[in-house]
C-alpha cells in the first residue's frame, strides 16, 4: 500500500541528498581553491555554508513534524532519526569546508610551501567516503556502508605522515611555521570529514539493519 507518508519520507530523503550535494561541492571547491591558489573560489566555499545550515534546519523541521504527526515505528522511525543525524554530520562537513577555505585564504597570501600531493589524496579519500556513505544511504546498501568505515584508517595515516613532514619543515625554517600550521589545519579538517563519513556509514548500517556498530561495541 502506497502511503502519503511514503511521499513525505521521499521528500525528506530528497532534502538530505540536496544537502549532501551542497556539502560535497563546498569541500571540493575549498580544495580546488587550495590547489589552484584561487582565493575567489575559497570565498565562494565560505559563502555556501549558509545554504547548508538552512538545509539542516529544514530537515530538522521535517523530522519534528513527521515524529509528531506520523508516530513512525520500526524502519520508518530509524529512517527519520538517522536522517536527522546524517543532516547534523553534513552540517559539520560544511563547517569543515569553511575551515579549509579560511586556511586557504591565508595560505594564498604567501608563496606555496610545497607541492600538494598528500592533501589532495586525503581530500579524494575523504570526499569519496562521504559520497559513498550517501550512496549506501540512498541505495540501501549497509554492506557498502560498513566497508567505508574501515577506510578511515587510511586517511588518519596520511594525516600523521603529513604532520611529521610539516613538523620537519618548521624545525628547519621557522619562516614556514604559519604556512605549515595552516596546512596542518587543512589536513585536520579533511580527517574530520572522513570521521563524519564514518559516522554516516554507521548510521546507514543502523537504519537498514538495526545494528548499532558505533564505538566498536557490537550490539544487535
Amino acid at each position: 500500500m502506497e502511503r502519503h507518508f511514503d511521499q513525505e519520507l521521499a521528500e525528506l530523503k530528497d532534502a538530505l541528498l540536496r544537502m549532501s550535494a551542497l556539502a560535497e561541492q563546498s569541500v571540493g571547491e575549498a580544495l580546488k581553491a587550495l590547489v589552484q591558489r584561487d582565493s575567489a573560489l575559497a570565498e565562494k566555499a565560505d559563502a555556501a555554508d549558509e545554504a547548508i545550515d538552512h538545509m539542516e534546519m529544514e530537515i530538522d523541521d521535517r523530522v519534528v513534524k513527521l515524529l509528531a504527526l506520523r508516530q513512525p515505528a520500526a524502519k520508518d522511525l530509524r529512517f527519520i532519526l538517522m536522517s536527522m543525524k546524517i543532516a547534523a554530520e553534513l552540517e559539520r562537513i560544511g563547517d569543515q569546508a569553511v575551515n579549509i577555505a579560511h586556511r586557504v585564504l591565508k595560505l594564498n597570501e604567501e608563496p606555496q610551501l610545497k607541492p600538494f600531493i598528500d592533501i589532495p589524496q586525503m581530500a579524494d579519500l575523504s570526499c569519496r567516503m562521504v559520497h559513498e556513505a550517501l550512496d549506501a544511504f540512498v541505495y540501501a546498501k549497509p554492506d557498502q556502508a560498513q566497508q567505508i568505515i574501515a577506510r578511515d584508517d587510511n586517511v588518519d595515516k596520511i594525516e600523521t605522515q603529513l604532520h611529521r613532514e610539516l613538523t620537519s619543515f618548521m624545525l628547519e625554517d621557522p619562516h614556514t611555521i604559519t604556512r605549515a600550521m595552516n596546512l596542518i589545519g587543512v589536513a585536520h579538517s579533511l580527517e574530520r570529514i572522513a570521521d563524519h563519513a564514518t559516522n554516516i556509514a554507521e548510521e546507514v548500517v543502523y537504519l537498514y539493519e538495526a545494528r548499532d556498530i558505533r564505538h566498536q561495541l557490537a550490539r544487535t
Binding site: 500500500m1 507518508f5 515505528a73 524502519k75 538495526a210 561495541l217 550490539r219 544487535t220
Partner: protein, 289 residues
C-alpha cells in the same frame, strides 16, 4: 485465597521504578530490557485451533502470557485476536458452531477440563469490553457483583473490596461520595473504569480487555491507559487493541496476528523498533492492515 496472598506480596510499581532499567551495561543498552524467556507464565496456549463451523479462525497457536505484565494482541480486523481473548474465558462456548482443539492452561490448569466451572473461570479471567457495560444498579453494587454471586454479605469485606477496587481503577476520588448512585449516570470513561474495578474486584488471575478504549474520547482513553499501566505487577493483562500507538504505550509484550496465525510475539519495544518479521514491520508501520 492462595492467590490473594501471593498477590499482596507484589507491590504496585511506581512509574519511575517501572520505567527505570535495571542497571544496564553499556553493551546491552540497545537490547530490549524485557525478554519472554525470563517471564513466569500465567497462561499458556498450546496448539490451539478454533473453527466457526467449517471456517478455521485460529491456527495452531502456541504462546505463553507472562504473569504481572501487559500483553497486547494486535493485527488487522479478522486476524483472530478477539476470538483468542474470548476463548480464554470461554465466551466462545456460547456460539453453537464453535469447536476447538488444543489447550489453554491458566496457572497450570486446563481451562477446558471437565471439572472446570465456567462461571468460576470467568471470575478468574475478568473481562472488559469495548462497549461499557455497567449493570443498572449503584456504583457500589456494580463493584461487588462478583462477590454477591459468591454469597458474600459481610459489610466490612464488601466495603473494603469496593474501596480497594475503585482505588486501583483510579476512580475512588471521583465517586467516593456517591457510591450508592446509579452507575448509569457516570461518563463513558468513568463507566469503563468502573467495569475495570468490577473485573478486578474478583482478583482475577488474568484481566482480559477487548478494545477497552475504542468508544472513549482521548482524555478518557488516557486515563484508562494510565490505569492499565498502574495495574502492571498486580494483574496479568491481555489487551486487544486496534490502536497500535496504544499497544506501544501500555504493553510490555506484543503479539501480532494475521489471518488467524501468530506471526510474531516479542517485547513491545522490539516489535515497534525492530520487528523480526516483514509482515509485522509492514503492519506496525501502517503499510497494510
Amino acid at each position: 485465597m492462595a492467590l490473594m496472598e501471593e498477590k499482596t506480596q507484589v507491590t504496585t510499581p511506581t512509574h519511575a521504578a517501572a520505567r527505570r532499567p535495571v542497571a544496564p551495561s553499556v553493551a546491552d543498552a540497545s537490547t530490549p530490557s524485557l525478554s519472554l524467556a525470563n517471564e513466569e507464565t500465567v497462561l499458556e496456549v498450546e496448539q490451539f485451533n478454533l473453527w466457526y463451523g467449517e471456517k478455521q479462525a485460529l491456527f495452531d497457536l502456541n504462546l505463553k502470557f507472562p504473569r504481572g505484565k501487559v500483553t497486547a494482541l494486535i493485527g488487522p480486523s479478522g486476524c483472530g485476536k478477539s476470538t483468542l481473548i474470548r476463548s480464554i474465558n470461554r465466551l466462545n462456548d456460547l456460539i453453537d458452531s464453535v469447536r476447538y482443539s488444543g489447550d489453554m492452561r491458566l496457572n497450570g490448569h486446563s481451562i477446558f477440563g471437565r471439572d472446570v466451572d465456567v462461571i468460576e473461570l470467568r471470575k478468574r479471567t475478568g473481562m472488559v469490553f469495548q462497549k461499557t457495560n455497567p449493570f443498572p444498579m449503584s456504583i457500589y453494587e456494580n463493584v461487588i457483583y462478583p462477590l454477591r454471586i459468591d454469597g458474600e454479605t459481610r459489610k466490612s469485606v464488601l466495603d473494603e473490596v469496593v474501596e480497594r477496587s475503585l482505588r486501583r481503577a483510579a476512580l475512588w476520588d471521583e465517586v467516593k461520595d456517591r457510591l450508592h448512585e446509579s452507575a448509569l449516570q457516570m461518563s463513558g470513561g468513568q463507566q469503563q473504569r468502573l467495569c475495570i474495578a468490577r473485573a478486578i474486584s474478583a482478583e482475577p488471575e488474568v484481566l482480559l480487555m477487548d478494545e477497552p478504549c475504542s468508544a472513549l474520547d482521548p482524555i478518557a482513553t488516557g486515563k484508562v491507559e494510565e490505569l492499565i499501566y498502574q495495574l502492571k505487577g498486580l494483574y496479568s493483562v491481555i489487551i486487544v487493541t486496534h490502536n497500535m500507538q496504544q499497544a506501544a504505550r501500555v504493553s510490555d509484550y506484543t503479539a501480532f496476528f494475521y489471518l488467524g496465525r501468530l506471526i510474531e510475539y516479542d517485547a513491545t519495544e522490539k516489535i515497534f523498533t525492530n520487528p523480526s518479521n516483514k509482515q509485522t514491520e509492514d503492519y506496525v508501520t501502517g503499510r497494510f492492515g
